[in-house]
Assembly symmetry: C2
Homo-oligomer: 376 residues x 2
Amino acid sequence: MAARRHAKNAPSEAVRPVSMADLARELGVSMTTISRALSDHHSIGPATKQAVLKLAKKLNYQPNHLAAALRKGKSKLLGVMVPYIEGRFFASVVHGIETAASKAGYSVIMCQSNEDVVQERKNLDNLLRAQVAGILVSVSRSTTDFHHFEKVRKHHVPLVFFDRILEGNDVNAVVLNDRAGAYQTTKHLLAQGCRRVAHLGGPLHMNIYKYRRQGYLDALQDHGIAPDESLMLYSNLTVETGREGMAQLLDLPEPPDAVFSAGDSAVLGALQLLKSRGLRVPEDVALAGFSNEALTTVTEPQLTSVDQRCEEMGQATFRLFTELVEAEGAAFSNRQVVLQPQLFVRASSLRSGVDDSPEISPQERELQKHRVLRRN
Amino acid sequence: MAARRHAKNAPSEAVRPVSMADLARELGVSMTTISRALSDHHSIGPATKQAVLKLAKKLNYQPNHLAAALRKGKSKLLGVMVPYIEGRFFASVVHGIETAASKAGYSVIMCQSNEDVVQERKNLDNLLRAQVAGILVSVSRSTTDFHHFEKVRKHHVPLVFFDRILEGNDVNAVVLNDRAGAYQTTKHLLAQGCRRVAHLGGPLHMNIYKYRRQGYLDALQDHGIAPDESLMLYSNLTVETGREGMAQLLDLPEPPDAVFSAGDSAVLGALQLLKSRGLRVPEDVALAGFSNEALTTVTEPQLTSVDQRCEEMGQATFRLFTELVEAEGAAFSNRQVVLQPQLFVRASSLRSGVDDSPEISPQERELQKHRVLRRN
DNA sequence: TAAGGTTTCACAATCGTTTGTGTAAATTAT
DNA sequence: ATAATTTACACAAACGATTGTGAAACCTTA
């Protein structure tokens, strides 16, 4: 008769889950054999393996990841920190990361900084204490220095930034080519016949907004148009600030005939204000945003916007992490993966009725998608 | 001189993080003292405690959660599974959960079932293997039986369902009063003078859609209106099926003068189709949806919808989990927390210009919010 | 048949904590 | 002053897995 795990007279005793020791006892072999059989080690005979597997299934054995991680010094936990999970962009990126991670046997621990650098620090400590195998992070809006990330490096935990990164430091990162997206969008507005293109920008200490502004400026310059400071407004790009910004622009002696916003919420605000003043979009003012949020296809007219390739960013971020893990010793070489954005031209910027956005061949896109730049 | 952790001739050797053993050695005390000092145990003198704390800070000691969890048999990991993370509802609920969990010292492992019961099973196993302290889950659309959740119960891991639950089983759950939300909305449409109110419903094997339909039927009955099967269409409530459903309804001999959709995407589709046919909203057909997605405030006219109190649901779900943990032995008593939805009346259903939606006092809302039903 | 190789498995240490028990010394009570 | 209690700490055994080392048993080859 098989040995029982519990005395019959103590049925209500807290049951411990079945462990390798239980399997070993039942089968009359050592724990070594169990462990190696389960991990398909070559030194275990096929008959023994079968027996172990069968018993494991029968007793519904679940390996304890914690114990394994403790012993091996490597867990299958992956830390992911975003400013916030709500909103299409980060949710999609996290979706991409989680899907890829799950396939590779990792569990993701998700946390939010709520755009607060203090919370960011706390989360980082927590993740380290949880012995994560790596940390994937998009920094908060209030993060301006790198100091707390040094600790991660000190603990030799692979660290990958995505989208919002700290520049000027040697970091691994996956970013969007924000400059190219902005450049293409601005060029599109100009090609539609607009001559005074305004820009609603975000906080310039963040890489993404800096480069979106730069792309805007570059496009103007390529068309021989001098930048006009009065056409460039900076805010946190909410619907409200979009309205205010648009109002301010309309009050200019020479109001713009197009607006390129670094975010979709702001461009929605601009649209609302234009309508409330009885102006037509795109005839009077053409609009274009950034992020390709769901709302862009719901407004009237629908909004032109730049897609940030959220899912790809998630996948690429996880892939970069695995590369770091595999690289092992040389793990901390610093790489950047640059994803190419895609402009979606919609009615809010289509004056001529002709979509002038440049076609990109699928092959070229595939090439661009995972372009890797190496520093050092 | 202080003892060194590494031989000087092996500087490139992989550094292990500092452990309690290191602190003990450095201070010349036992690990017991270190452990108890760090957890503020009464049997450790204040002077010793200070010394330990100081050294810990100095050496940047990070406790190893895995080891502690292994020893204690209880981790500070919380498993959260949703059908998908994208979209306002689940993202907000997860936000609420994560925020509350983080405050209580838990880390959340997030995973997605992608509406697939097979993936759901896999995720469940993974979470168990990760030794989570509890599992919070909203079941996938394709889940129709309870079997794989039995395993969780067998492992004595607290299990809480939210929003989408399996009924007829003894489970802990946090749900929205979908019936009340639907009832209130339908009643509102009737109060606006509508007489033929159609319903776009979801899969009826899911509790949420079943109750939304029930609320719709109850409101009709209370107004002495006999339900008309030809006015009730069921689908997965996408924009596309919303359009198709609306088209089908308009082709009826007696088309409806209002539509209550169990989801916002479908009502958007309906709106698009009505516009394309030159019909006016709400004059010709009034519209109301469910979920209070962001898009509802962007369309023209804005869409009336039922808010699901996502954040509160997240908080309540976590709170129910902690209650189960504290209840310990009697942990598996089955509770249900029912949250009260809130109807947001917008232009798509306002015919009279008068918002007839019932006012709820803040006090009453507070009361309703955390009403707890006990079974058994 | 002896030397060498391969297959199959057990021993025991180890990862970093926690905690029941034991025991001095210091404090208080009788 | 002795007994009883409290304070402050150490010993050592867990938790559940992994893995280097060693050693039988079996097979191969000369």
